[in-house]
């Protein structure tokens, strides 16, 4: 498991597909259908990333984000929508969002999954190995080795 994501989406089929796709990539997904439930879940536990639809019943996406930021200033947030509204976009950027993903005719499930993965885990396995390999010998002292 590489991370826990909260998906805020009122459209059942969209949520179902995205949830399954993310889970197939070993990402844990909690799905909620409105802003109120999203904020309740936020208070209960930590998430590594939030996927937030902007058009939601009752609370709108930007209002939900406002609430999220009061609880957690640093959590990564992806907003995705098929609806562009510049004043709202400005507000979202000021509140802090990592990515903006289009739905509708441009919707691409696996691109979305990859975006989520890259945010949860910025390095691929090869990159990790390379990074570790570049460290000087003995950079990490393994206390157990001394015991042997």
């Amino acid at each position: 498991m590489i991370g826990t994501v909260m998906l805020v989406e009122d459209e059942i089929k969209t949520a179902d597909m995205l949830k399954q796709a993310l889970e197939s990539e070993d990402i844990e997904v909690l799905w909620v259908r409105d802003g109120r439930s999203a904020l309740q879940e936020m208070k209960k536990g930590r998430f590594d990333l939030i996927i937030l639809d902007l058009k939601l019943p009752e609370m709108t996406g930007d209002e939900v984000l406002e609430g999220i930021r009061k609880i957690d200033t640093y959590v990564s947030v992806i907003v995705y929508t098929n609806y562009q509204n510049p004043p709202v976009m400005q507000k979202l950027i000021n509140l802090g969002v990592e990515r903006y993903i289009s739905k509708g005719a441009d919707a691409n499930l696996w691109d979305t999954v990859n975006t989520v993965k890259s945010l949860l885990d910025p390095f691929t396995q090869d990159e990790k190995d390379e990074l570790l390999g570049s460290l000087s010998q003995g950079a990490f002292v393994n206390p157990h080795k001394d015991d042997e």
Binding site: K13, M17, A21, S24, K55, N82, K103, G104, A107
Partner: protein
């Protein structure tokens, strides 16, 4: 040799100073007669300077000739002031001296004459106003006793009875010209407070018009209201309306109409004319249209009235009505034709009408652009959801199926995609009343159609405990597109159900439908006791995708569709803003739908 004779050689400014110095010397030497003569000459030499008029006033005052002083002051006030404050202060100083020496009655008389003189002159408007403020206390002096003035004594006698009405108006006109302010005082004392009796009715009505002319609106309204409470007369009613219109406050009319509601049905043109303004001010479109149509029907051959009516139509931007009226006006004008003048008039009017029509079409075009943009945004959003779903589904299973393909999973995909296309189809169907152009015209009973629609929505109505009342016993037949009418009623019902649902109460939920059969139109009053419409949304509720409901709970097309359905049928819908217990729509549909006329629009 006097200085005046040499003045041509020297510039005006120094000349004026020399002349005034000379006058002063004569004054100091006590030679007032010579000083006056010189001053008169100087006034003619410098006609646009006020200096010599004021010196002359002082000279006359010194010689105790007060009437001449007033005339000189009148001359002074007609001049162009350099600084308004100093100019008026100069006058006030002299007037104060006159106040000290003149008996009240004389002062009042002269003050009034001065007032009338400057009123008629081209003197500076601000100066006139300030000077009047200075003069007013003396003109309406409490010591003025009109009974003792020969001018007024006989007039007061005439006020007592309508018998000598002609003589009364003759004298009134003279007094109005010469002693306006005293006349007002006399009316205040002898007419305003007396009892309204039939023997002085004509005079009292006439006096109301004098007050109106003097812009003493309160007094005019008092007089008219009292007259109308004794007997209702078109002339007095019309004046009351007109004054209220002038002061932009219809309280007195409201009060009067609450006691005499029948006046609204009056067919006197002058009353109808005022009713148009009244209902415009009251924002009562239904009544406004009713009055306009009465005028059009009742005075079909009266050219001046038709011209007035046309101006009303122009004022309210009722282009169709203007077009309808024009042939009639033209034919009457031709009959009475007065040659070239008439034609020119006609041309210029046609020009005005076409300019207005052009402006209107530009405005409509702007509105249409906004509406199209809203519609496009709305549709693209509504379609975006199913498209996302189809793409996600295909993309998900495509990857999954690379590894293992089963019949079940393929069917799952097909079903899912079919479901989403149905969703798209539903949106198109929802919008179809706007796009379908087929007009199946037939004669149908409107009440019957409404009842059937209500029956169809019964499950939904019952779910929300809504009682529907249709108040009309007899059938109302209409010739038009019955399918569109069905769509109209269904949309209104759904809209009302949503509004009631939003109110979120289970008791006494109701929808009332009242149908009024008119001569040309049928009016439907469609009310619900749901959440209602805030005044600011009065016009926007008909915009596409306008919805106060939460996203996903209503796409905001219902009333937009209703509006368009009515537009295509020559009907109208407005929000009754006076209805506060929920929402009320007033729908008007023509009884005979003229396809040719409508499609030309």
């Amino acid at each position: 040799m006097t200085i005046v004779e040499t003045m041509h050689d020297i510039d005006t400014q120094s000349n004026m100073k020399q002349v005034s110095d000379e006058i002063r010397e004569l004054r100091l030497a006590g030679n007032l007669e010579e000083a006056t003569k010189l001053c008169t000459k100087a006034r003619h030499l410098f006609p646009d300077k006020y200096l010599f008029s004021i010196i002359q006033a002082d000279l006359y005052f010194q010689q105790n000739d007060y009437e001449a002083t007033f005339i000189a002051l009148g001359e002074y006030l007609k001049k162009q002031p350099l600084s308004k404050n100093r100019f008026v202060a100069n006058f006030a100083k002299r007037y104060y001296r006159l106040q000290q020496v003149l008996p009240k009655e004389k002062l009042s008389d002269l003050a009034e004459k001065l007032c009338i003189t400057i009123d008629k002159s081209s003197a500076d408007k601000n100066v006139i106003r300030e000077v009047k403020d200075i003069l007013r206390p003396d003109m309406v002096s409490i010591n003025f006793l009109p009974e003792h003035s020969p001018k007024f004594a006989s007039f007061i006698k005439l006020l007592e009875d309508d018998l000598n009405f002609n003589e009364f108006t003759k004298q009134e006109k003279i007094l109005e010209k010469e002693n306006r302010y005293q006349l007002e005082q006399v009316l205040d004392k002898y007419v305003l407070t007396r009892e309204r009796v039939s023997s002085t009715r004509r005079i009292d009505t006439y006096c109301a018009s004098i007050y109106e002319k003097f812009e003493k609106h309160d007094k005019a309204i008092k007089l008219l209201t009292e007259l109308l409470s004794v007997r209702i007369e078109a002339v007095a009613a019309r004046s009351l309306f007109r004054i209220c219109r002038t002061i932009k406050n219809y309280d007195s009319v409201d009060n009067f109409l609450s006691k005499n509601p029948a006046l609204i049905k009056n067919n006197d043109f002058n009353i109808l004319y005022e009713l148009v303004y009244y209902f415009e001010a009251k924002n009562d479109n239904i009544q406004l249209q009713r009055v306009l149509s009465i005028i059009e029907k009742s005075f079909a051959q009266n050219l001046p009235i038709l011209e007035t009516l046309k101006n009303f139509y122009i004022r309210f931007g009722m282009l169709e009505e203007i077009k309808r009226l024009e042939p009639t006006i033209r034919s009457i004008t031709k009959d009475k034709g007065k040659g070239k003048y008439v034609e020119e008039l006609e041309e210029s009017e046609t020009e005005i009408a076409s300019t207005i029509s052009e402006l209107n079409s530009q405005l409509n075009h702007q509105k249409q652009l906004v509406a199209i943009s809203d519609l496009t945004t709305g549709i693209s959003h509504e379609l975006g959801q199913p498209i996302t779903n189809i793409r996600y589904t295909i993309q998900f299973y495509k990857k999954l199926l690379e590894k293992n393909l089963t019949k079940d999973s393929v069917f799952k995909i097909f079903d899912s995609i079919l479901e989403e296309t149905e969703r798209m189809g539903a949106l198109i169907k929802r919008l179809s009343p706007l796009t379908s152009s087929r007009n199946v015209l037939e004669t149908y009973d409107l009440i019957d159609r409404i009842k059937k629609r209500v029956q169809l929505e019964k499950p939904r109505l019952d779910d929300n405990h809504i009682k529907v009342t249709i108040a009309s016993k007899v059938p109302v037949t209409v010739y038009g597109d019955s399918v569109k009418f069905d769509q109209l009623i269904s949309n209104l019902l759904l809209n009302a159900i949503d509004a009631i649902k939003e109110r979120n109460k289970t008791d006494k939920n109701k929808i009332d439908i009242k149908v009024e059969d008119g001569t040309q139109d049928v009016s439907i009053f469609f009310s619900d006791n749901g959440v209602g419409i805030p005044f600011k949304n009065k016009n926007t509720i008909f915009d596409p995708f306008f919805s106060t409901k939460a996203p996903g709970k209503g796409e905001g097309l219902g009333l937009f569709i209703v509006w368009n359905l009515l537009k295509s049928q020559g009907g109208k819908i407005i929000v009754d803003t006076s209805y506060t217990n929920g929402a009320r729509f007033i729908i008007t549909i023509p009884k005979t739908f003229n396809l040719e006329k409508e499609t030309k629009l």
